[in-house]
Symmetry: C2
Subunit: 325 residues, 2 copies
């Protein structure tokens, strides 16, 4: 009889008293939501918990209950009898203190990333799950914990973050089952989604309008390019991060197979985001040709000492043959 | 013992042979998805079905299986032994042929709109449901019908459309339960969402750019108004339906509590979409003051013989006191 890795983790957590909870650096909603929820759950079971994060929780996620407790100063590690890394696909993503953190034993790893690089003592790796949040929900059930509204809220935010509100292909019937259970705990979907998605600033909308005006279409509208020269950011008082999701607009055009977004940074670097649809166009290969990388449908690269016009020309040289072949 | 209205409708549908299926004019995803799904379900039970629509199905929804069958020529009505209006909150929204359509008996009405104006012979009105699609799912269960992938696909599209992919406050544990069941029938969430959300035409993007340039903010950016005068549609070669989701842009601004979108039709009618966030602002009440209706967070109305500028002034008279109180 094999033991489900989750059950080994349940056993480890049940016998632990002082638990260190960690997630990956630059944490997203699934990372933080899972970390905060598990902290809440373990406390409800009488455990002492320390929520470690290399950085303080960013503006975007401060709405998560408990986020103020994430502490960026590393505590003495010999006091912990269990460590848990959540949503972390690779030990390098534990950050600068990785080696110290890994001295805590047993070191538990709960993750859903495809291509997870194994580390730690006890691992539950489930790439078929849409989010680590779902896994923490199952863990809470297995621990026999009663979910508080706060924990449910964090798990709901985790799931919604990593599925783009149930839009991504990773969404399963299981995802919906758990989402329904979290609503029964009192979570209000519109409230969580409002915090996660309806937080556009007016400045960012101004930037978006400027960027969309740069749209160029090629090859019978199969290739779309948008650009954000440095002066757009200056004019609108925005930062590079504000432009993060704009590539979705050219990508969402019905005729478009490949979309590119060229962004000029303060230091004159031009960074390029590439997106493709379906299996016919591998933009990771294109990015690699420019020294970058990524996945088949989402990749990118950066070039220094150049201009947006120059990068556009070079990029067209690679993309036009690809999209018209 | 009272009979659930759904069960009366089940009885009526079971004994019918020729069913006329209708939805509201300018149908959205929930309207069309529900109509097409119920058509598919009734056919699987051996019924003859006619899918009537005043207009042909728009570009946006032609991906829905069965959408090509929606017929805009009214058939002889004496051949039907049952009519069903889906997602229609008001008999006026049956369109120009309303009076003829209502000669079909029994006339069944299945709707989830708050402030539904009763009509027809048998009514199942459930404003607590997030979509008419969910109600059709329940009806299929009650009819003992086995859902085809096509029907499941249409119902999933209906639910996703009317909940903004599970983002709106109307989303319930029931919504998730049904979404999960539809996935078990083989529906792929990313595929449906891709069709619903990533099918912008280039023309529509041009229209969006023009409309976003009209953004006006009031009351410390708590109130946002955008507008689409008729010449925007002419200039970009787009239709009213292309502008359907633009209200989401001003709505998604972090400071905005109420958003309004004023659209001018060819016939000079100005239609107004209203959105609010949270429970403090009831835009259905505002819409009602102008003879319209809807939900607390999503409502609308239409005014004739007027201009966008005039409607904007009147609307500001209602919205400014509300948003600043």
């Amino acid at each position: 009889m094999t033991i489900h890795p989750r059950d080994e983790i349940v056993r480890a957590l049940k016998s632990a008293n002082n638990v260190l909870l960690i997630t990956h650096i630059h944490p997203d909603g699934d990372a933080l939501g899972s970390q905060l929820a598990l902290g809440n759950i373990l406390r409800s079971l009488g455990k002492r918990v320390f929520l470690y994060g290399e950085e303080q929780v960013g503006h975007m996620y401060r709405f998560l209950p408990g986020s103020a407790e994430v502490d960026s100063s590393l505590p003495p590690l010999d006091g912990f009898d269990c460590g848990v890394a959540l949503d972390c696909g690779d030990s390098n993503r534990l950050g600068a203190n990785r080696d110290s953190l890994l001295t805590v034993h047993p070191f538990v790893v709960i993750d859903h990333h495809l291509g997870h690089q194994e580390f730690g003592d006890l691992r539950w790796i489930a790439p078929e799950r849409a989010s680590t949040g779902e896994m923490v929900y199952d863990l809470a059930q297995a621990l026999g914990a009663e979910l508080s509204l706060e924990a449910a809220y964090c798990l709901y935010a985790a799931i919604v973050s990593d599925t783009g509100s149930f839009k991504y292909s990773s969404t399963t019937a299981d995802t919906f089952r758990i989402a329904g259970e979290l609503l029964r705990k009192g979570v209000k979907p519109a409230e969580v989604c409002g915090k996660l998605f309806d937080n556009f600033t007016v400045k960012r909308l101004s930037l978006m309008r400027l960027v969309l005006d740069t749209l160029q279409l090629f090859a019978e509208d199969r290739l779309a390019i948008i650009a954000a020269p440095q002066d757009f950011f200056v004019k609108t008082g925005t930062a590079q991060a504000d432009a993060e999701t704009f590539i979705n607009y050219p990508r969402s055009l019905d005729t478009v197979k490949i979309a590119a977004f060229l962004k000029e940074s303060e230091s004159g670097l031009v960074s390029v985001s590439l997106r493709s649809k379906g299996t016919a166009y591998d933009v990771a290969e294109v990015a690699a040709a420019f020294g970058g990388g990524g996945h088949r449908n989402a990749a990118g690269f950066k070039l220094g000492e150049t201009t947006i016009a120059e990068v556009r020309e070079k990029l067209l040289g690679e993309l036009l043959p690809l999209v018209t072949r």
